[in-house]
Symmetry: C2
Subunit: 104 residues, 2 copies
Amino acid sequence: MSKYAMFGKLTAHPGKRDELANRMLESSETLNGMEGCIHYILHADEDHPDDLWVTELWESEEAHAASLKNEKVLEVIGRCRPLIAGVTPIKVRPLGGKGFGGTA
Amino acid sequence: MSKYAMFGKLTAHPGKRDELANRMLESSETLNGMEGCIHYILHADEDHPDDLWVTELWESEEAHAASLKNEKVLEVIGRCRPLIAGVTPIKVRPLGGKGFGGTA
């Protein structure tokens, strides 16, 4: 089974980044108890005041897809959506490294 | 002490991405034994055949700086450099999430 990564930039509506980040970190608390999520890290872009970057690593694409059916996750997504002006996904295939959690 | 993240795109010379990735994964083996490196994950960009993305999370900026003085790390960087056509760093501040390793 191949690991699955999500990777992308979220642009908040002007001035709304902190609020969006706080709501997304609540989502990460939900993910703490979730099977198959190896990490989910939120970053603030230092050069662009409305941008956040999310890096997620999952045991499999299926584990990620299952998380999107979780009611708590869907509720957080619903609460974040009004604060998001744009999403720029970067399609990546995780190759390995430290913290990868076993073999690829 | 604040966590420190490195985040960026590496563009290999045409056709050299796999070779670069293999050398960088050797570097991650070196980092496995390194204090302060929470994760270091390498990804292949699915839409751009010469691009790799690296996401690194460290216990502190100092821990990252110390790794760059490690002889094994410097040796790997030296072996990777000839394969790299360009680097696009994204300056980020890690905020938190699952796999963050304790408090920010």
